[in-house]
Amino acid sequence: MAAINHSKVKKKRFMSEEKKDRVSGYLYIAPFFIIFAIIGLYPALFSIFLGFQKWNGLGPMTFVGFDNFKVVLTDPLFWKSVYNTIVMGIMGTAPQLVFGILFAYLLNLAFLKFKNVFRVTIFMPYITSMVAVALIFSVLFSDHESSLANYVLTLAGLDPVHWGTSEWGTKIAISIMVFWRWVGYNTIIYLAGIQSIPNDLYEAATIDGANKFQQLFYITMPMLKPFIILTVFTSTVGALQLFSEPTVFLGTSAFTRDEAMTIVMYLYRDAFKLQSFGTASATAIILLVLITVFVAINTLIASGYGRKKRGESE
């Protein structure tokens, strides 16, 4: 009698429990979706709408079709900013891939002592904010002949460089800064990847007589592929969104000179310096397209798509 009663209660509860779970489920994910609707979805859609309007932020909007896109795409300054962004993106992030893997490989060597000291010091720049990094580098790489960077150049018998105003000086200084801040981050990601590689692979290779370099190229690198794809993805997105570093590094001349103007700086200038919100929104849409295209290309390259295809056709 008691047993029957118990199972009855349990069954009854179980039915209503399912319904309760359903309600709780929706209720618990609701805050995220409400915030997403207001802060994420609405602004994204409104940006796309604004891309087709002429608007100074105060007066009425007028529909102008594709005019904003035409204005942006025929503006030499926009293309200069695309060029700058890509050049600094490549110079700032590509070396990170090489050094990141090298550092991670070395930091994982069994005999290495002071592992954590090396790991912490190489990672430390990532902790500093981008603004702080940009200010430190604006002093290291200032236009003065006595700046440390120029002093090192003169020691090497080279001419001092105008790091704040020359075409390549600005780009090189900003790329070095990006490299310095992020290489430790990528190293840590690769290190996590290397540590996930089973040890018996290396043991088997050692027995087969493979040396350390062969092991690096034939075991570590291929096994690291997913981690490389991940960092290529984040580096590509990050590089195309470059804003804080050049803006703070250049200080007062950030929006008046074009040597290091990036796409996001161009967008910011249109919107908040020139009150041309239509063209700024068009730039945002173009940026989205550029990010999608570059991410697709770079991750395809990183996953060795081209190599595989060639291998198949041979």
Partner: protein, 279 residues
């Protein structure tokens, strides 16, 4: 045979140590340089060769910073913003992560995919409408105006779902249900204590990201009283007569607390950042 081989290995060992030491040195040097400049008079900058020894103007240079921006107010503003954003994101993410991990409801997988897709939208796409949204709500140039956009954090939900489904056993939830616990009570007294380590991970990721963010804070904040530390620091170099000692002093005092916390909890920091990106 074995002897020359052993020698060769130790030679490459020395090279590896040298290489890593050099890398560490280059990694640390800008920090040291920041300290040198923060303690030197502005004129130290014009000497050739450049000074590499710290000066004795640690306090004086910082006083100049205080004359330029309200440093402590800015640090406090950043701290308040980061703390509130972190707490809100932890709450929203853990609640949603719990729902995605443990409840059955129609459309769950589609909705979760939607959460993941929102990660791909670059923040710049929404920048302009977000600015007008915040301004319409009367939050322009206020701390809440800075906070709101950071409440959106799909990565948090992803990490929390992962952690809840791994760390919280279904049996525990079933048992609590049999005892008549409400779902929110289960969240509060069973799920929360178990996922505290994940809170540390996500908390560090969110706090450091918001602390260092610049574009949005720079866009929303106008009144020096509301500046966050990043916006305040950026103002230091916007003066006509650039005083490097003063600028570096501001950067130094803004960076030191962060470095101390990082060095004290470096393993937790590094593992958090790794987990946040690798998962």
């Amino acid at each position: 045979m074995s002897k020359p081989n052993g020698k060769k290995v130790s030679m490459s060992k020395i090279l590896i140590y040298l290489f890593l030491s050099l890398a560490s040195l280059l990694s640390l040097f800008p920090f040291y340089w920041m300290f040198v400049m923060a303690t030197s008079p502005s004129s130290a900058y014009n000497t050739i060769p450049p000074t590499l020894k710290p000066g004795n103007l640690l306090v004086e240079n910082f006083q100049k910073v205080l004359g330029q921006v309200d440093f402590f107010q800015a640090m406090w503003n950043s701290f308040v913003i980061c703390t509130i954003v972190t707490l809100v994101v932890l709450f929203i993410s853990s609640l949603a992560g719990f729902a995605f991990a443990k409840f059955k409801f129609p459309g769950k997988n589609v909705l979760f995919m939607l959460v993941l897709t929102t990660m791909i939208i670059p923040p710049q796409l929404g920048l302009i409408p977000q600015f007008f949204l915040v301004s319409k709500a009367g939050l322009l140039d206020t701390l809440p105006g800075v906070m709101v956009v950071f409440f959106l954090n799909p990565l948090g939900i992803f990490l929390m779902r992962q952690y809840v489904s791994e760390a919280v056993p279904d049996e525990l939830i079933e048992a609590a249900k049999l005892d008549g616990c409400s779902n929110f009570k289960i969240y509060r007294s069973i799920v929360l204590p178990i996922i505290l380590p994940a809170f540390a991970t996500l908390g560090i990721i969110v706090f450091t990201a918001v602390w260092g963010e610049f574009l949005w804070q720079f866009t929303v904040l106008r009144d020096p009283e509301n500046y966050t530390i990043q916006v305040a620091l950026a103002q230091l170099s916007n003066t006509r007569n650039i005083d490097f000692g003063m600028i570096m002093s501001g950067v130094f005092w803004a960076t030191v607390p962060l470095l101390v916390i990082f060095l004290a909890f470096n393993r937790l920091f590094i593992s958090s950042i790794t987990e946040g990106s690798v998962k």
